[in-house]
């Protein structure tokens, strides 16, 4: 069976799946930082009610399987709050992002807490407000500490994104399945999809390692010196 020409025929279609998958990952990662970082700050510096809310959020999104979360939001929560018209792509990306935020908040929290307490004391002793100290002293250090662990979220979300297949997001795995149905070629097509996932994984991690090196500072072990 001559698979290669068939694969090449379907390549543009596969590529559209790559775009969709990467879109899911980027939105989810971005949302994860946007929500996860304030959540981490709330957990470290916030008053008790804030810490409690964040704790419940993290418990909820880490406690449920990704598939359950997707169905819950797709069939239940979004329609119930009048957002039933949202596309599967948007719902998938948002759910991945909300879930990612829970995990990422804990990566950021650990990093913030591992910045020595003397850094805050020194900053305050110079007359900085707590907010200025967090922004100018704590976060620049915490983000460097967090980056290696945070990088791990990329392959996690990339592989998790395939589950969005279940609510009909037209991402890489959905497209792969459609090609399989059309061509009746199974293993080679799935292998091609697997190869694409591996390449995306490798490329993304390479970029993140590059970033680690770029922001590395003497004595600030990111392990990428």
């Amino acid at each position: 069976m001559d698979v290669l020409p068939i694969l090449i025929d379907w390549l543009p279609y596969l590529l559209s799946g790559i775009v969709s998958t990467l879109g899911l990952v980027l939105v989810a990662l971005g949302l994860g930082v946007l929500l996860g970082l304030p959540m981490a700050l709330g957990q470290v510096y916030g008053a008790r009610p804030i810490r409690w809310v964040v704790g419940v959020y993290v418990w909820f999104f880490r406690g449920l399987p990704i598939l359950v979360l997707l169905f819950l939001f797709w069939f239940g929560i979004f329609p119930a709050i009048g957002l039933g018209h949202l596309s599967a792509f948007v719902v998938g990306a948002v759910v991945l992002g909300l879930r990612g935020a829970a995990y990422q908040s804990q990566i950021f929290r650990g990093a913030i807490q591992s910045v020595g307490e003397g850094q805050m004391i020194a900053a305050r002793s110079l007359g900085m407000s707590r907010l200025t100290a967090i922004r100018s002293v704590i976060l620049p250090q915490a983000m460097r500490i967090a980056l290696p662990g945070w990088s791990n979220e990329y392959p996690n979300i990339l592989t998790d994104s395939a589950v969005c297949y279940a609510i009909g997001v037209v991402e890489l795995l959905t497209i792969t399945s459609r090609i399989v149905t059309q061509t009746h070629i199974t293993i080679p097509i799935y292998l091609a999809a697997a190869g694409i996932f591996i390449v995306l994984n490798y490329g993304g991690l390479k970029l993140l390692h590059g970033l680690e090196k770029r922001i590395a500072i003497p004595g600030f072990g990111t392990g990428a010196m």
Partner: protein
């Protein structure tokens, strides 16, 4: 002595941590240009006292005045007072992600709102003061303890404080590095900087301090010029303490 010379007034400071009374009513006045040295056994509240002055620790009772303005209970204005009360820590607490220069610049930019060029100029001047201008582009991890401490002194100086609090500035350093830091501090004292120094360096106390306060059990037990406390037979407690440290050193 005229009251206008008093830059810092500390009144009846009390502080407990749990059941432990660390400070039990400490009062003193600091005149402009004066160096006061605090000596005493560990755990007698010397460091806590310094932290109560700039409110890094909130005292249970008592008041602190800087130039006639109350520092205690000053709410958000505490950030204004802290600019005027510099602090140098035992473990330096340099900002680990910034070069020596940026360490000194940061509060000039973020707190004083200085322009970049002006802040850089000011920071370089202060680094020169402490003999660290050649190390301006080095990160804290690349500095020796003595160098790091000198940078942290420059960082405090850059704010043009009315008084600097030194919390055991040489306790983390070996004797040679201690000497280079003490040299800088002596120079500051000679140039008229007002300093409160918690230290175990008797040599520094004797040569620089206008007044030594010997603290024990949360109170100032003896107070006076170093010569007096060391030589006048009416004062015994600090001499006893020093005797105890010296005999320990002989072991």
């Amino acid at each position: 002595m005229n009251d206008n010379d008093i830059v810092l007034k500390v009144e009846e400071i009390y502080k407990s941590f749990g059941d432990t009374e660390v400070l039990r009513g400490v009062s003193f006045d600091v005149r402009r240009g004066e160096t006061k040295v605090f000596i005493g056994p560990s755990g007698t509240g010397k460091s806590t006292l310094l932290r109560c002055i700039n409110q890094l620790t909130i005292p249970d009772r008592g008041r602190v005045w800087l130039d006639g303005e109350e520092v205690t209970n000053s709410g958000a204005r505490i950030n204004y007072f802290r600019q005027k009360i510099g602090m140098v820590f035992q473990n330096f607490f340099l900002f680990d992600h910034l070069t020596a220069l940026k360490n000194v610049e940061l509060a000039l930019l973020k707190v004083k709102g200085m322009g970049k060029a002006e802040a850089r100029e000011k920071a370089l001047t202060e680094l020169r003061q402490v003999g660290m201008e050649d190390w301006a582009d080095h990160y804290p991890a690349e500095l020796s303890g003595g160098q790091a401490q000198r940078v942290s002194i420059a960082r405090a100086l850059a704010m043009d404080p009315d008084v600097i609090l030194f919390d055991e500035p040489t306790s983390a350093l070996d004797p040679e590095l201690t000497r280079e830091v003490l040299e800088v501090m002596k120079k500051l004292a000679r140039n008229g900087m007002t300093m409160l120094v918690v230290t175990h360096e008797m040599g520094f106390a004797c040569s620089v301090a206008n007044e030594v306060l010997f603290m024990e059990n949360g109170v100032v037990a003896e107070q006076g010029p170093p010569d007096l406390l060391l030589n006048d037979p009416r004062f015994t407690r600090m001499k006893d303490f020093i005797g105890r440290i010296d005999s320990r050193m002989d072991d």
